[in-house]
Every structure is written in C-alpha cells, then in structure tokens.
C-alpha cells in the first residue's frame, strides 16, 4: 500500500464511490430501511424487559439490602457535613489543601468554600459532597481491587476491557430508572449509577501502574524471598501509587459529571438546584449552582493531583518566599504588593503554629518523661515533626469547642452575594439584541443548510448495506480483519434493533459537531501557543467548560439559537471543544525549537513554518484530540435531546420517559457501538500518523 500507484488507486476508488453514492441518494426517495426479516424476529428490547422483570422478582431483596447499608453510611456523612458548623467543614478542606498543595491551593479552597456559602448553596453543596465522596470511596475501593486482579491475570484483563469500555460510554439515562427499582430513590441508586460510570479509570490506571513496573524490580523482590502478597503490598502498590492517584483523580472528575443526573432519581444537592433553576428558565440561578460544581471539581482535581505527588518534606511555610502568582510575574510590582502581605501573614501563622506545637510537645513530653525518659525524648521529637498536624487538630478542636458553647451559626448574611439578576438580564438582553440574533440566525442557517441537513439526508438515504460495507472495508484497511468482522456485527445489531435511521442521525450530528470543533479549536490552540497571556485567559475557561454541567448552558443556547438540531450541535461543540484546543496546543508546544529554527533559517515565513512544519509535526496530538472530541460529542448525544437533538439519544430519553428499559438499553448500546467503531478507527489513524513521523 505504500507505493504512489496504490495511493492513487485508493483515492480514485474513494472519489468514484462518493459520486456513485450521491447518485444513489438522489434516486432514493426516502430514508433507507433495514430489512424487516432481520429486525422483526430480533426482539432485543422485549428480551431485556423480560430479563429485568425476572431480576426484579428474584434479586430485589439483595439489592435493597446493599442499598440499606449505603444509605446508612451516606446519611451519617451527610448529617455530619450539614449539621457541623460551616467553618469547621471549610477548615477540614483547607488544611489538607495547604498540607499537600501549599498555600495557593489552600487559598483556592478558601475561595471555593466562600463561594458555596456566598451564593447560599452551602447545604446542597454538602449533600453533593457526601454523595460524591461516598461514590468515589466505593469506586476507589472496588476499583483498586479489580485493578490488582486484572494486573495479575491477562485473561481477566481481556474480559474486563470491553466491559469497562461499555460502562464509560453507556449513557447513564439507560440505567437510571432500573436503579430506582433495585436501589430505591435518592442517595443509594445515585451512588450505584455514579459508580458504574466512574469506576473504569481507577481500574484501568491501577492495572496500568502495576504492569508498568519493570520486571527486574519484581524479580529483585522475589529473590529477596518476598512472596506474592508481600511483593504486591510492599513493592507493586507503592510503586504504582502515582498512576493509581491519577486514576482516582479521573474517577472524581467523572463522578462530578453525574451530579445533575442524580437529581432525576431524587438525590438532593447541587444537581437539583440546577434542575429547579433551568426548569423555570432561570439561567443565573442555574449558573450559580453550576459554578459551585465547577469549584468543587477544580478543588478536588488539584487536591487529588497534589496527593499523588511526593509530599514536600518541609512545612509549606518553610520556603523562603511565597509565590501566589507565577514567578514570571515578579517583574510587575503589583505582584509583590499582593504577595508580600499574604506571605508575611502566612509566616506569622506558621510561627504561631510552631510555637504552639513546641508548647504542646514540651508539656506532654515532660509528663511522659516522668515515667520513661527515653520515650519522653522521642515523644517530643515526634510531636515537633508534625507541627502542621498538631496545630491543625488544635484549630479544628477549638472551632468545635467554640461552636459548642457559643454557636457559629449560619453562613454570615453579609458574606452572601448573588449574580442571578445580572446573568438573567444579560441573557434576556442577548435574546432580543438584533445584531446578536442576526448572527445566531445566520450561523444556524449556515450549519443547518450546508452541513447538517445534507449530511443527515446523505447518511439516512444511503442504502444501509452500502454504509455497512464501506465502514467494514475501512475498518479492514485501517485496523485489521478481526475488527472489520466486529464492526460488521455491531452495525448489523444496530439495524436489527430497528435503530438504523437514528444511528445515522447521531453519526451525522457527531461528525458535524466535531468538524466545527476543529474549525474553532485548531486556531485557538495555535493562538494559545503564540501568546502566553491568551493562554492564561483560556485555561480557566477551558477548565470551566469541561466541568460546568452541560444543563446550565442548554437553555441559553436554545434561547439564542432556537429549539432545533443546530442548538444541539452548538451545545455539543461547547462540550467537546476543550480537548481539541488543549491537544493542538500541546502538540505544537512539544515540537523541539530546533525544527522551527531550521525552518526559519531556510527562509520559511511564520505561516509557512506553521503550515508546513508545526501542524504536520503536531498531527498525532491533534488526532488524539479528534478521538477525544468524537467520544465527548457522542456522550453529549444523550443530553442534547433535552433541547431538540435527534437520533439514538432521543430514543434513550423517550425510553426513560416511558420506563422501557429494553428500548433504552438497545439505543444505549447503539451509542456504545458507534463509540467503539469511531474510537478504534481514529486510534488506528493516530497510530498511522505516529508511525509516519517516527514518533
């Protein structure tokens, strides 16, 4: 396939195939229908519903028992978080943040906590925190167990892998309703649903972490006489800790992604705040709730990453100077004005803490000294070494005691703020702003008339066997014979479930969304490598885009772009854009400076260097962005039916409305299958690019 002649032949075949399919589509009067003799006897959803009924009759007592345990544990945590004074809880988050992430992370946590209380959402935040915390702890426990098991056995790993793929891509709406019957309403089913979705990363990364340990290390452990269990606990697990922590980090992020959905099964918290708000079209209110989730996500993201890094040996305050802003900002005097007082204050607090610890150490030490002088010495040293821990406990204890006698009470009225009104006003203003509406209408017409509609018609009218054949052949060429066979079976399954047309509509929406992501994302990615300032503005925006629940922007998008498929595409673009920008920037940033210097020394202009050197070199990274964008766009297809999206996602949503688990599952599997096909194809292409560049 590497000769020019073959390449020419391939292109000729593609062009010929394209034009002949256009002719086929033009002659077809209507959407292509999968033959009834295959789909009629294949009553997949009926079978699933019967299976569900059987499970309901026979195993409900068991799931209810588990739900009972989870509920007890959850309410204990929730009561503690809600009924404790807010200051105590806030300190419980800030102190570990300082200990592991330094003062900047501590300040971030402080800002987040004040935001939760400030917008008047302290209680829902604590409810969500309890729910997510519970789900994450259970996920981490079972995830590490499963990860260790799959690292021990190749067979188990190969069985587990497709299951994990399915868990991550199966829309949560599919299992939300059955979860109500098996686990009740509120916390327990929400935790179970969250676990299904958030468990895979921790399993994957535990497995990966253990498998990456060099064989020599294991052999060394064996040769020193360690048995299998000892090797695991003392060598493999500690060495794979950074990888496991990364898995936990991902699990937390994914769990937070399900916060809003949990409200559909009666779990209180930030999700129900957001839902109540958007139900009443109150964009500002839902944004406040959404930003609470964003803060939670950012704090726990940074904190769990910090926990994964080796702990700094000295107290955070022992560093000579305090930096809140990047050190390159030192040239601006304003940076020093901001940093100095905070640094000085912090040093003062640290000194107080150390002095206090000293007193405690000496007092307690002298008491122990009375009985055993050797232990007394060791005791004093031991306590001194943990100055941070000792002062933290003292602080928490004094807050508790103060609250017990005087009462800290509610979050201070004077610290509350709200930006609902301005946001609502801004949305209302934009909704009627003639220039803006002219722009949205133009964009809507452009996307619909020139991209979405033609592609919809093309994919749905094109006879199904052609689509199956083309995708199978492409899979054969780019991945291999086995995958071509798998691809063929998956597509036949979608057809047999009577979901052909919906699947093609979903495919079309995903392709158009990803295309728009690239049109917007690549220039932004390039721009962020060229300008540091732009990059600094872009980063938090991207963080927020990835963690803000999509429900928050569904309503404004709909109000600006109207209720139609284009709105669904725009919402998908907002969700799937960040990885494209990030990975474009990463790809270009990774290119060694020598390459670009060679290019300019040969007289290449900036744009020539960009187009001929930088972009081709960054292609593997950009292709990875494509892969991620496709997966995220597919995930979004289940949410967009809320504002007029069509395709498989709408089938899932309708099934949720009629509590038909079978139909929901069939359409959900359809989405999973599309995800598998698109994922493998784009991965194979990325690999081809990498090989071509020799990276």
């Amino acid at each position: 396939m590497d000769t020019g002649k073959n390449r020419l032949l391939m292109w000729a075949a593609i062009v010929l195939g394209f034009f002949s399919s256009i002719i086929l589509v033009r002659n077809a009067g209507d959407a292509s229908v999968f033959p009834a003799f295959i789909s009629d006897p294949f009553q997949f959803s009926e079978w699933i519903n019967q299976g569900e009924d059987w499970l309901k009759k026979n195993y409900r007592w068991f799931t209810r028992m588990i739900a009972g345990w989870i509920e007890t544990a959850l309410y204990t945590v929730e009561d503690f978080l809600i009924e404790s004074p807010w200051l105590l809880i806030l300190m419980l988050f800030i102190l570990p943040s300082i200990a592991y992430g330094g003062l900047p992370l501590g300040l971030l946590t402080l800002v987040g906590g004040l935001f939760w209380g400030g917008v008047g959402m302290w209680e829902p935040t604590m409810q969500t925190l309890a729910l997510m915390g519970m789900a994450v702890i259970l996920s981490v426990f079972f995830g590490i167990l499963l990860g260790i098991t799959s690292a021990q056995s190749d067979r188990f790993e190969s069985i587990l892998k497709p299951i994990l793929d399915t868990m991550q891509t199966m829309p949560a709406f599919v299992y939300l309703l059955p979860a109500v019957f098996f686990f009740g309403i509120g916390g327990p089913p929400a935790i179970m649903a969250t676990m299904i979705y958030a468990l895979p990363p921790v399993i994957r990364l535990t497995n990966l972490g253990i498998r990456q340990i060099p064989a020599e290390t294991i052999e060394a452990a064996h040769s020193f006489g360690a048995n299998r269990l000892q090797t695991l606990v003392k060598v493999q697990l500690p060495l794979s800790l950074p990888s496991i922590m990364l898995g936990i980090n991902q699990t937390i992020m994914m769990a937070l992604g399900l916060v809003v959905l949990a409200t559909f099964i009666g779990a209180d918290g930030l999700g129900s705040e957001v839902w109540k708000a958007i139900y009443k079209l109150r964009v500002g209110w839902s944004l406040e709730g959404g930003l609470c989730i964003v803060f939670m996500a950012i704090i726990f993201d940074r904190l769990s990453l910090a926990l994964g890094r080796p702990k700094p040996s000295a107290l955070p305050a022992n560093t000579t100077r305090f930096y809140l802003l990047p050190q390159s900002f030192d040239i601006y005097p304003i940076a020093k004005i901001i940093e100095r007082p905070i640094g000085a204050g912090w040093n003062f607090i640290a000194m107080c803490g150390q002095g206090f610890t000293q007193i405690i150490a000496v007092t307690l030490g002298s008491i122990v000294n009375l009985f055993d002088s050797v232990r007394g010495q060791a005791f004093v040293i031991g306590i001194r070494r943990h100055a941070f821990l000792v002062s933290s406990i003292a602080l928490l204890l004094s807050i508790s005691i103060f609250d017990h006698f005087f009462g800290i009470g509610e979050f201070l009225e004077s610290m509350q703020f709200s930006f609902r009104e301005p946001v609502d006003n801004a949305v209302a203003w934009l909704t009627v702003n003639p220039a803006f509406i002219a722009f949205t209408k133009g964009l809507r017409a452009l996307v619909y008339l020139y991209f979405l509609h033609p592609l919809d018609v093309f994919l749905t009218y094109l006879p199904w066997y052609i689509v199956v054949a083309v995708l199978s052949i492409v899979s054969w060429i780019s991945v291999g014979r086995n995958f071509a066979l798998v691809c063929f079976c998956l597509l036949m399954f979608i057809g047999a479930c009577d979901l052909w047309e919906q699947a093609m509509l979903t495919l079309s929406s995903v392709l158009v969304s990803v295309l728009i992501c690239f049109i917007i994302g690549i220039p932004l990615g390039i721009l962020s490598t060229r300008s540091k300032r732009f990059d600094m503005i872009l980063r938090p925006v991207l963080d927020a885009m990835q963690t803000l629940p999509s429900f928050v922007y569904l309503i404004p998008v709909l109000m600006f772009f109207g209720g139609n498929i284009v709105s669904a595409v725009i919402a998908t673009v907002i969700y799937a854009l960040p990885p494209v920008i990030r990975l474009t920037a990463l790809g270009i940033g990774q290119i060694p400076v020598t390459y670009t210097e060679v290019s300019s020394s040969f007289g290449g202009t900036t744009s020539q260097t960009l187009i001929k050197v930088k972009l081709p070199m960054a292609l593997p990274s950009i292709m990875l962005g494509l892969n991620q964008a496709v997966m995220m766009a597919l995930a979004m297809q289940v949410v967009t039916p809320l504002i007029g999206g069509v395709g498989l996602g709408r089938e899932v949503f309708n099934a949720l409305n009629t509590s038909n688990t079978g139909e929901g599952l069939a359409a959900g599997i359809g989405i999973v299958l599309l995800a598998i096909i698109l994922d493998r194809l784009s991965q194979a292409w990325t690999q081809t690019q990498r090989d071509a560049l020799g990276v």
């Binding site: 009924e83 821990l389 406990i393 609250d403 017990h404 619909y448 809320l642 309708n654 409305n657």
Partner: protein, 310 residues
Amino acid sequence: MTILTFKKTVVGGIAASILALGALPASAAQRMSAPIPDWTGGAVVCKLVQTILENEMGYKIKAITMPSGAGVYEAIASGDLDYACESWPSYSSSKDIMIKEFGGDGTVQYMGPTGIVGVSSYYVPRYFVDEVAPDLKSYEDLNKYKEHFSTIETSGKGRLIACPTPAWECDDQKRLDLLGVDFVAVELGTETAAWAEAQAAYSRKEPFLLYAWEPHWIHAKLDLVRIELPAHNADTWPATGWAEDVTFNYANPDSMAEHTDAAHVLSNMDLSNSEQAKMVLDIDVDGKDIGEVVDAWLAENESIWRKWLP
C-alpha cells in the same frame, strides 16, 4: 512503635470528638416521603397536602425534588415514595401500566381527583393576533399565516412547537395532517425546552405556535391566545382537540392502608382551578415563597380545606 499507636489513638480520639461535637442525630417521627412536582401548580397542591398532613395529623413529610414522570411512578410502586399529587392523565403513560383504574397491575393506587381540571390546546402570542392576524381564531385559519411560522428547518411549512415527547401521546403531526394544517410538529424533547423557545420568541416578538395547557405558569409570563380545535372525540382522535385532564393523586397501596387519615385527605381534596391560579400567580409573578403563600391560603380558606379532613 508505642508512640505511633499512642498517636493514632490520640488522633482517632480527637477526630471522634470533633465528629461528636459537630453533628447530632435527628429523631424519628411518623414519616412519609413525597416528591415535589417541578411545575408550580403541582408544587402548590403538594405543599397544601403536605402542610395539612403535618399541621393537622402530625406527620413529618420528606419532600424530594424529583422531575415528574416514570421515575416517580417507579418509586411509588416500590414504596420509596408514599404518595404523589396532581398527576396529569395525558402526560403519564406509566399510569396505564401501574394503576388499576387505567388498566394497569395495581402496584400504584388511584386516590382521587385533586379538583384541578386541565385542558391542552395550541396557542399563539397575543401580539401576533393583535398586530398581524386579527382573524386568527381556529385551526382552519392557520394555513393563511403559515409563512409567518416557518423556520429554515420546515422549508416553507409552518412550525408547531409541539408536545415535547412522544411519551405524552399527543400525536401532533397526525392531528395537523388529518386537519389539513400545513405545519410541521417539532418535538423539543423536554417541556423546559418548549417554554424556553416560546419565551425567547416572545421576547423578540416573533410569531410562534405552541402546544401548551391550562392551568400553567407560562400563561402568567406570556400573554397567549388559544386556537380553537375541534371538540374532543375519542373515535376520531387525533383529528380533534384534547379531552379534559382530570388530575389525580396516587399513592403506594401498602402505605395508604397504614396511613388511612392521610389517604382520606388525598382522596377527598377538591381544589378549584381558580384557587390554584391565585397561588401560582403569587409565586411565579410576585416571586413569593411557596410556603408562605400556602400558609396564607390555608389561614384564609379554612372552610374549604376542613372538608377534606376525615
């Protein structure tokens, strides 16, 4: 080692005392759980029932925010929720599976009508009738103005912001076709999306044809005019208008056998549309708190709700 264990005990003890000082367990009472409907009308009915049960019968009701629909039915059938209020027969297909009176298996019990009677229809904004189409009264006049209602997706035909999901069995497109109305029924997936679309179009003074029903809070926000449809007829459905929706309360049978006094209230309540509308207006237009509005109504209208008690 000893120091380490000692330290652990100390830390553990301190953590336990922080926990103990921080939180206090809640006490148990005669408890029931009910969902809070996400539309104001339903929320008012539910809050009324809840307040009466709490004040007059000493119940402690846990109100749970949960979008209405199949999930609520599922939770009532399994006993996680005890009762729910103001179900609209047209919009709950689960009733046909679970409530005996509608042909279901009886896992959910029909309690009785709430007194609220709803009716669905198609609506246009008042400004469109006043400024452009003074003669637009019934479905027969719609074709005359169809280009006003068309969008790029409907290619020349008018657009109806239809019943949001097929689960509600509105059959909008069939109705339009049978009645010869040259419009396309666009399903937006959720009720919220339909209201957002209408609200946005309304604020831009654009014409739109909207499926909606009364009583509903959207009428408090937007001034809409109802389009006449043929009177309801089960034989020619869907070529007709909707039947009246006699809304009802439903509950878990076991729970109602246990809490007969609560069951009595749920079966015998009778709130009129106009009384509900007053409260909805106070909440949605004047922005008052639902609890205060309901308390005020209960204080003023004792003669009405006393009759609902056993």
